[in-house]
Symmetry: C2
Subunit: 104 residues, 2 copies
């Protein structure tokens, strides 16, 4: 599922940092790994999870893999979250209306 993969991908601090870094532009796996003191391998796995969510796209240039950030799946995530919030807002409005009805 698209939404699930997206939220799962966002639920890890390393992956969030990677996305933030990619917000500044394309980067190689090695570049992405630099700020963290975890192995290249580990970063590579995080990238795979980000790719599964289609949040990251890969472009090979020779032996380098250039990663870029695709924000599109964020729309679905935002929509879901916004939807939940809307439910709550409606509920609160109904409550408020009921109170106004009962008070006077």
């Amino acid at each position: 599922m698209q939404l699930h993969d997206t939220l799962t991908a966002l639920a890890d601090p390393t992956r969030r940092a990677i996305l933030a870094r990619l917000g500044a532009g394309e980067a190689r796996v090695t570049d992405l790994a630099a700020p963290f003191d975890i192995s290249l391998n580990s970063v590579s796995k995080h990238i795979r999870i980000l790719e599964r969510a289609d949040l990251v796209r890969r472009r090979r240039a020779g032996r380098e893999h250039l990663l870029s950030f695709n924000p599109q799946p964020l729309d679905a995530a935002m929509a879901w979250i916004e939807g939940q919030r809307a439910l709550m807002t409606r509920q609160l409005n109904a409550l408020e209306a009921a109170l106004k009805e009962a008070k006077p």
Copy 2:
């Protein structure tokens, strides 16, 4: 961390369903468990994680625990996601501007 707890809480389908259900109003643990064929205990644990993220509030009425949905932490999550998307938009705008500069 607030953001982390929130995103972690949202990264599970059962918890998302629980939130969606709570969007319709307060419910007991038993009510929340009904749609799933998992044990009450399991649901109880999910609720604990939702409470950790402050997405769910608990109100005891006698022996019943009434759970309600607190959408406030969603704001921080939305803000973070929106921020990432904004980074990307700025990057794309810069690229576009550079192209326009180079073309003619």
